[in-house]
């Protein structure tokens, strides 16, 4: 809309900012009790569009606030670098469908090494391009992490994640709260 100067009456926001707002307002009653004993480790992928390309760290800081709230601060391990200086996963800009898989995977090696260095069991990827690419490079380079949507972990923490909504969870979390 900005690019084409298309006038619009509505405001634009992201679900991540709303999650953070709802937690702060007490409307989204969520905590990390479920993960206290399990201690599953999480990291996040900062999608370029909501990090660097949004022009500020606002959304990715909200993302960290939400993730730390639902998995426990001690179970969150950030990548280096991260937030606005994050490395792109290599799946964006159409790369996943551009037809150059060898180059796309070589590009993704930096992301893979970054994730591996965190030692995290789970990567929360709040973007479908990132989700697809990080899953693919994990398989390609032999990673042992799982890639999950943020809503999956929020619902796990809320105790409302059904057995049919666990396709991306590993065996350690597959039964939690059922």
């Amino acid at each position: 809309m900005r690019k084409y100067n298309i006038p619009h009456k509505f405001q634009l926001t992201t679900i991540i900012e709303l999650y953070a707002q709802w937690i702060k307002e007490g409307r989204l009653k969520v905590n990390a009790d479920w993960n206290r004993d399990i201690g599953a480790k999480f990291t996040v992928q900062d999608p370029c569009n909501i990090a660097r390309k949004s022009g500020s760290n606002k959304i990715v800081d909200d993302l960290r606030f939400v993730v730390k709230t639902v998995v426990g601060e001690e179970n969150f391990i950030d990548t280096v670098p991260s937030r606005m200086n994050n490395f792109c996963c290599g799946g964006g800009g159409g790369a996943l469908q551009a037809g150059f898989p060898d180059q796309r995977r070589a590009y993704g090696k930096i992301k893979f090494d970054q994730i591996k260095a965190t030692g995290a069991d789970y990567v929360i990827a709040p973007c479908h391009n990132c989700h697809g690419q990080i899953e693919d490079i994990g398989l390609h380079y032999g990673g042992r992490y799982h890639v999950v949507h943020l809503w999956t972990i929020i619902c796990l923490a809320l105790g409302v994640l059904a057995d049919t909504e666990r396709a991306y969870l590993g065996p350690d979390l597959a039964e939690v709260g059922l």
């Binding site: 809309m1 084409y4 298309i6 006038p7 619009h8 009456k9 509505f10 405001q11 634009l12 926001t13 992201t14 679900i15 709303l18 999650y19 709802w22 409307r27 989204l28 009653k29 999608p47 370029c48 660097r52 390309k53 606005m84 200086n85 994050n86 490395f87 792109c88 290599g90 799946g91 964006g92 800009g93 159409g94 790369a95 996943l96 469908q97 551009a98 037809g99 150059f100 180059q103 070589a106 590009y107 993704g108 090696k109 930096i110 992301k111 709040p126 973007c127 479908h128 949507h149 809503w151 999956t152 929020i154 619902c155 809320l158 409302v160 994640l161 059904a162 049919t164 909504e165 396709a167």
Partner: protein, 239 residues
Amino acid sequence: MAEAIKIDTLDVELKEAVLDKVPDANFDLCLTCGTCTGGCPASEQFGMDPRKLIRMLNFGMDEEILKSDWKWVCSMCGRCQLACPMNINIPKLIYNIRAKMAREKRPKGILGSCDQHIRTGSAMGAAKEDFEFTVLDVAEEIREGHPGFEDLEVTVDRVGAQMVLNQNSREPVTEPEEMGPLWKILHLVGADWTYPSVMWAGENYCMFLADDEGWRYIIEEFVLHVDNNLKSPLVVNTE
């Protein structure tokens, strides 16, 4: 003895064409420091990197630039520009190099997704009827089978809802049960929301295709629908 290159006499057609569209792209300010390249994961693929690209652009090596497939490996992530001391707009250069290619010759996967989006409202080609059928069907399953969510409400095109959500088309098309957790959160916080039936999908492959016309059409249709038909004050990007 080697002869110095006469900068003033170089034919830099591509550079001038891109500068016409992106006047503040700063290509002439390049210090050749290589900071862009040092931090670019696409460096060295197809023998190219951002510094080399700017050099080639400034030397007028248009044919070599346009020939390279590197423009489809670069994801326009913007890390080069963030690091660049002279704020050179390399992502927009890539976009405009992509746009120089005949539309039908651009990568089939991206082209197909863009065309589907223009035609149906989503890159995976699910028309609004299919989308509506799927979400209402999954919502019914949740109401019937997930205790505590008997009152879960999912609507399409509900006029006057407080917020309109987009949805990546991968979910309704390939993994519909993944929409459930999002809806449950919205239900538990008491959000007043709806999906739009027009251009409902969150992705935009026309942007990746560098198809200005298609990109603009998708956004315009969406804006008109939300502002004029749904009259919702807030649009929520779900990814």
